[in-house]
Symmetry: C2
Subunit: 557 residues, 2 copies
């Protein structure tokens, strides 16, 4: 039995009162009004903890048990996690890994069954696995799966694609909610999308879109992550429809997660003057109601998930996070972090980490490209931090390109190599915007199929970076002149088993090295990782070919 004193923030009765919370066996045994003794310092505010209502933990590049530690230090007591990325690599085996890893932490997870694995037909790009309707049915029946993950294939929903509808029906059958993903969908299409039972969307980027969503009966999950930042545009919904909004990050990269999580959205909402009760609905309670989670709101009998903060203003600090009755974070305390000296060498990686990685080292010859034989150069125009690319089609004969002299100004080679088959041939494309004048970057994180990608100044740098990724069986690499830095991602080629802070630090070092190689981008690896995503306009590249994602067709040079 443990007692907590403070100003109790009771969301249910919309009241703050002084009192005592008695915790026993992971639940709140008693909430008692009482005077707080004067012990010479300020008492904390005790309130429900935060929930990230939609997150791909893989983007944090750390295992779920480590993600839990990092998130809890910012007052997050649970997440709705969609293992979509690892699903594309390992299928249901990947989903199982995430659930198992999560069990190593004292934390609350609600896992989704990824609904769109892969998100593209296999003739466009190669994924590591498929979770078909039968697989989704199997997952939805499980107790450890709480929701059907974001249904990205919204054309499939609107067209009543039988495979898609089977997945939706599997969720409905088991009484589990279905998350949506339908950027830009309005009018009757939006309403039909909602009618199928899909009940959330985190892809709204304007307040009008958000209102359309809500009026169609869907909840809006306001997203403020590492890539997409929608909070400023969508926050009016907190005041307008307080029961219909939630908060999420979607993707939270390691160097952001070390700094904050949902608490940052709560701070910003407080700064904008929204009602505390409405903010707590969005940051915690609505997600519990929507997903049927028993994570508690400080009432007697509730699960003992709550946080202590020092103030109820925009500068509040999380002092303590209690999950299932365990103090998993305390700002005055220190976690005994015991490092075990098990080294998992390349040979026994497979024993510890699930992965699918068959690519073999390549040579400069494998990625040669004689542009003089091409009629048109198709160049992707990349913008720092953006998922969208431009498409520059340059007629070779009208230009002064000397095919043998690579690189050509700011146009650089981008290589994609299928990582799931040992004998695949790399695909070579062209990209502008990275300006890696004397180095290269390479990675095995490339949405959504996570093949191996690289961009570089010349073939030597490219091969060096690519082969390092292959040697590590997944990871991120930056080469600048004779220097190289890397981060191994042995868990599915997506995540590291290291601590969140170590991963964050190495990400900083990778970006530094890319800058030393000439790249002016703030987030070169994130930008590169989206150049393969064939569902986003305009020109993309996969392990199979250049893809015109505006006109949905293969590009031939």
């Amino acid at each position: 039995m443990k007692k907590y004193w403070g100003h109790i923030v009771d969301v249910f009765h919309r009241e703050v009162f002084d009192g005592e919370i008695v915790v026993e066996e992971g639940r709140i045994k008693q909430v008692k009004r009482c005077e707080l003794p004067d012990n010479g310092k300020a008492w904390p505010y005790l309130m429900p903890g935060f929930i990230d209502s939609h997150v791909h933990i893989e983007s944090s590049m750390i295992a779920p048990c480590e993600f839990a530690y990092m998130a809890a230090s910012h007052g997050t007591i649970g997440v709705v996690a969609d293992p979509h990325e690892i699903g594309n690599v390992l299928g249901i085996e990947g989903v199982d890994y995430m659930i198992e890893s999560g069990k190593n932490a004292t934390f609350n997870f609600c896992f989704a069954a990824p609904s769109c694995v892969p998100c593209c037909p296999p003739d466009i790009e190669t994924s590591g696995a498929v979770i078909d309707a039968a697989g989704v049915e199997q997952l939805m029946a499980r107790d450890d799966i709480g929701v059907l993950g974001e249904m990205m294939n919204f054309p499939g929903v609107l067209n009543g694609d039988p495979e898609v509808m089977r997945k939706i029906h599997a969720a409905l059958k088991h009484g589990k909610p279905i998350d949506g993903h339908a950027p830009g969908l309005t009018g009757s299409d939006r309403e039909r999308y909602a009618l199928t039972g899909i009940s959330t969307d985190h892809e709204c980027t304007t307040v009008e879109e958000g209102r359309a969503c809500i009026s169609a009966g869907m909840k809006v999950i306001i997203r403020e992550g590492s890539a997409a930042k929608d909070f400023d545009k969508l926050c009016p919904l907190i005041g307008e429809s307080p029961n219909m909004v939630m908060f999420c990050t979607d993707d939270c990269h390691p160097d952001d997660l070390v700094r904050g999580h949902i608490n940052m959205m709560v701070r910003r909402a407080l700064a904008k003057g929204y009602d505390l009760w409405n903010i707590l609905l969005a940051a915690s309670i609505n997600a519990q109601r929507h997903y049927g989670l028993d994570w508690g709101m400080l009432q007697e009998g509730d699960a003992a998930n709550f946080i202590a903060v020092d103030a109820l203003n925009t500068h509040f600090r999380v002092l303590q996070t209690v999950i299932k009755g365990v103090e998993v974070f305390d700002c005055n305390a220190s976690f005994g972090s015991v490092r075990q000296y098990h080294v998992h060498s390349l040979e026994n990686h497979a024993t510890f980490f699930p992965n699918r990685f068959e690519a073999k080292p390549i040579t400069e010859e494998d990625i040669s490209l004689d542009v003089s034989k091409l009629q048109t150069l198709h160049v992707m125009l990349a913008t720092d931090g953006s998922l969208y690319t431009g498409h520059d089609a340059i007629k070779v004969r009208y230009n002064l390109f000397d095919g043998s002299r690579y690189p050509w100004g700011e146009v650089q080679k981008m290589v994609v190599l299928n990582r799931y088959q040992p004998d695949a041939r790399p695909v070579v494309g062209l990209v502008r915007g990275f300006n890696l004048t004397h180095g290269a970057i390479a990675a095995s994180v490339a949405h959504d199929c996570h093949n191996i990608v690289a961009i570089g100044a010349n073939d030597e740098y490219l091969v060096k970076a690519l082969n390092r990724v292959i040697e590590m069986k997944g990871g991120q690499v930056a080469v600048a002149d004779d220097e190289m830095t890397d981060l191994a991602l042995p868990i599915a080629g997506l995540m590291s088993p290291l601590s969140g802070h170590e991963v964050a630090y190495r990400c900083l070092q990778l970006c530094e090295m890319a800058r030393r190689a000439g790249c002016p981008m703030h987030a070169p690896f994130i930008t590169m990782s989206f150049l393969c995503l064939p569902v986003i306009p305009e020109l993309k590249i996969t392990d199979k070919h250049l893809w015109d994602s505006k006109n949905m067709k293969v590009v031939v040079g």
Copy 2:
């Protein structure tokens, strides 16, 4: 039994040859010449690991077992560690803690008995402990103490101070080396200092001083740390007297240790074109000879301490670190870092972490200062990253100071509070250079007695920052407007039990917050930590008074 193939760098025979190293039970069983099979990739170079010949681990703000992990990832296989800082807080109990913590890591430690605890008489400042001659005698007799730590009291040596000589004789009696510390000592003084048996100096800052040291028979430990950077000036000694130089960091702060260690000095020495064999003498072998360490140089029968690197040029990367036959670091591998969810709350800190911290929260009244009552304002002039301060004496009557209106331009209050006694009164001084216009910083790391220090824009910020340090029983705090960030240092008020990367990240965040408060310094906490060191000119402040360290006297306003 484990085998390692590669290009073997044999320092003893000054030869690189291809072969195989067989390791068994922590020692090198066999070194065999053989051809390296073509396995499609480059074989590594196998060579002796690096040694930091003089380091205060406390400056890395992490426990010795975690320091070992961080250092090993940069190819360091052992260190000569002087627990001088924790000695000033906890005496021999602190030394014992460092040794015990070190045992949790697979690493090589040679611990020194701190020779100057405290380094100042108790009427100048209050330390937490004393290690007198009897204490040093007791330490020198122990098997786990290998050296007498840097003898800073060089006037005492030259004057034949009996207490000092007793300490030196204790080391000589047990056949253990004595480290020196004598900045600027030349001529016959240098020779007399060396004649006592003191055999190293890491305080040389010019090559002439280094040569004087060597000609007096002392070895020069070239220092390139976070604070002092002497490599560029002293590196000619590597070529001139290759048997007489070693490498050290002295103080290596967490945000530097995450990036590199002795490997960075080796890289720079290679870039300058020094002979590989001489560099390896400085980086590893000389320390082993000097301190009588059996840490090995890749000969049959040696301890299996070595590293694998990818090249023998300035861009080399450490691929693997083997210590006592254990692969403690592998760039292709991943350490299974298991985080244990023990939270050590304030109440049970003492069970886990040794500390001495009795200070009680203070009020604004405690640090009030009415300058109108003073005749002269004595202001410390601080410079970013420097140990030295200027001394500005301002006649109050000639100035337009309004005593009640604090702050006065760039002159800010600095507070020092004795942390070892519950009833101590804070000492208030003035400092220029921090420019914390809307915030404060505070810390319990303050050389050498590690009392509590703070600098801030007004009394409210100062009290907030100071009381947070007191609440944590040690740590670093930065306040900017309504925001606060902190790092708890429950181990003697000097170190954190968190991981090196987490501590490094929090240090970055502390510096960011100080910048947000207006401070233009790159390293405000390091600079502040030296404002108390009464042995360095010109004006300093202790928990007892302002101290004119040029004229060795108390300053009265």
